[in-house]
């Protein structure tokens, strides 16, 4: 492996502008992790217009920082408010909150920060060596492989969501249909534009992401925030003791490895890996009854895992051009807007972007460690900021930002429209993630499919007979079959439990 571009990547990171945007990114990420309401996908979507004003590498450094920074911040609400800020911090609440009740909130936060740092950093090292390998493998991919890969990515993301599969697939199909609006790339004929001039170039990704993720979430929170508030637990010393470190070092290591590998899977990501890491620690513990009562491993393992997963989930994006989760889908969109198509060629054609972004994560993780240990008091104070004050600020950033994309009032209307759609989707139980992901992949998928069909002379068995796409089809079938089998198995064991 040629290390020169890796080293050059550090040169990119150390440029003052990139360092500044990295700092902004991780700080914003930490904030949205702490603050209730807006998640990382919504925040990244809302800030998309700002990224248009800077270089692609700078933009992605910032957006990536928001994503992995949110994993750090989410711990604070889990431990102090027994409220999982992000889905990936749910299991942290069990032991984190129990520790807080025993007056050990500081130790829980400290170990989570150290675990997050170790998990994140190990995953960057893994990413550095693993990603170019995957990319070189994918260089041979043609349209048929991309067709199967894109379908696989959408299915995986749909199948691990919090809702049911049917609903996730509906959301994905709507996303794909939205992507067909505008001029057909092959024939030039207009599709579903209803003679609206602004639609002839298709709907831009930015208003969809800003609306469905950003405004949709803001509107939904208007309803949610009328619930009871919680008073945060007091924090004193965040430095874990030597005994704490000794007790959790194994859990941190194992959590990092589990997180790294699960994070690579599209859809796997941070949520699944934190659950898996927690379950594994509990299983291998000599006294599993401690879990849920304030076992420090129960905080260390999932927090290390979700950070490792957040980092490794960049692998499918940077090497295959397939986003692994909702937030990464928005980052993918941001790259496309900047004229950079992520895929196997990225590492060769844009080494500055590839290594700049990857190496910026080292800096980001160090900054986050500083924010999470010495500067934690600041972020704990932020817990007291009221949602009612934040809401109009985020609304105005979104609406004004929407205008600045193309200096068009029509785009603000689109954002409002998709905001309403995003809210309604949440109300009827449709997840916005698969819609946005499918929309992003829609054009790629259609182009690849049509090219493949022309290549095969209309014979769809061509997908199976080509070695690589055939293998991918086999994985696809396994992905579809797995939940069905798992469900059968689950219902059987449940029957046994009842007996």
């Amino acid at each position: 492996m040629d290390l020169a571009p890796v080293i050059d990547g550090f040169g990119v990171v150390l440029q003052p502008e990139n360092l500044l945007y990295c700092l902004i990114g991780v700080t914003v990420g930490m904030l949205v992790g702490v603050l209730p309401g807006l998640g990382p996908a919504a925040t990244v979507a809302i800030l998309l217009p700002i990224t248009l004003t800077v270089e692609p590498v700078t933009a992605i450094i910032m957006l990536a920082g928001i994503f992995y920074g949110a994993q750090y911040g989410g711990t604070i609400t889990s431990v102090l408010l027994r409220l999982p800020g992000e889905a990936s911090s749910v299991v942290t609440v069990f032991d984190g909150y129990a520790m807080a009740r025993q007056g050990r909130a500081g130790a829980a936060l400290g170990i989570a920060a150290i675990g997050s740092f170790v998990g994140g950093t190990l995953a960057i090292v893994g990413l550095t060596f693993f990603a170019p390998f995957v990319a070189s493998f994918a260089l041979d991919f043609g349209p048929p492989e991309y067709t199967v890969l894109a379908i696989l990515g959408i299915l995986l993301v749909a199948s691990v969501g919090s809702g049911t599969l049917v609903k996730a697939l509906i959301a994905a199909a709507i996303g794909l249909l939205l992507a067909t609006i505008g001029r057909d790339g092959f024939t030039g004929s207009e599709r579903f534009t209803f003679d609206v001039l602004q639609l002839s170039d298709g709907i831009d990704f930015v208003p969809i992401a800003m609306g469905v993720f950003g405004l949709g979430e803001i509107l939904y929170n208007l309803e949610e925030r009328h619930k009871a508030t919680k008073a945060p637990t007091k924090v004193t010393n965040v430095l874990p003791t030597r005994a704490d470190l000794k007790q959790s070092s194994g859990a941190i290591g194992r959590g990092s490895v589990i997180g790294f590998f699960l994070g690579i899977l599209p859809g796997g990501g941070a949520v699944l890996s934190s659950l898996a890491a927690y379950a594994y620690e509990k299983k291998r513990s000599a006294n599993p009854e401690r879990f849920g009562q304030g076992a420090i491993e129960g905080v260390a393992a999932p927090e290390s895992a979700n950070n490792a997963a957040a980092t490794s989930s960049f692998i499918p994006l940077l090497t295959l051009g397939i986003p692994a989760n909702a937030t990464i889908a928005v980052i993918y969109g941001a790259l496309l807007i900047q004229g950079v198509t992520p895929g196997p060629q990225l590492v060769d054609e844009h080494p500055d972007i590839f290594w700049g972004v990857v190496n910026s994560m080292y800096v980001g993780n160090i900054l986050l460690l500083i924010m999470s240990i010495p500067a934690i008091g600041l972020f704990v104070k932020i817990l007291q900021v009221r949602a009612a004050i934040l809401a109009p600020i985020t609304v105005l950033i979104t609406l004004i930002g929407a205008y600045t994309i193309a200096n068009s009032v029509f785009d603000i209307f689109l954002v409002c429209l998709f905001g309403a759609i995003g809210y309604l989707m949440k109300k009827v139980g449709l997840e916005p993630g698969p819609l946005v992901l499918a929309f992003v992949l829609g054009v790629l998928l259609e182009t690849a499919l049509r090219r493949s069909l022309i290549l095969f002379g209309g014979d769809p068995t061509g997908f199976v007979t080509r070695p690589i796409s055939g293998t991918l089809v086999a994985i696809l079938v396994a992905v579809i079959a797995f939940p069905v089998i798992a469900k059968l198995w689950k219902s059987k064991t449940r029957e046994k439990e009842l007996v």
Binding site: V93, F94, Y97, V166, L177, A228, I412
Partner: protein, 168 residues
Amino acid sequence: MTPEAEPESVEELVAQWEDEKSPAAGPVTNIATGALVALLGVAGVIGSRSLGLGSAAQPGPGTWPLIISIALIVLGLLLVVRARTAGFGEKFNVHSWGVLAGLASMIAFTLLIGNIGFEIPAALLAFFWLKVLGNESWRASLVGAVLMPVVFYLIFVTGLSTNIPHLF
């Protein structure tokens, strides 16, 4: 908004999360959603046909939309059939009117911004969200309504020099 009791154990904590969940919408919502999705699919099929379907060897502009539309019909009907087990959304509640009002305020903002710039609409929107939707005090709402447009002016007009329409 009152602070709630502290749960003593993980079980109590999980129970508390369950209690805090908004009431679930029933299967009727799923049936309506499924039917709407299937109708969207039917409209998609009609639209795709008029675009030209082409053939498998020479796909036309309507081929891909047709495939998705058929998928929508199938998935929509599947949701109708499995309405009882497909997981529920949430019921609308009294605060849903606030959402509608919030949305209306954004549309009003959008309609005004092209004519009178962003400052006054932003102040009005901020005040509405703080006082009416957010139940903040008069003082906080007024301060916010003045401060927010000023800060946004400094960021978007003075700082980033975007072309956002402005009065001043």
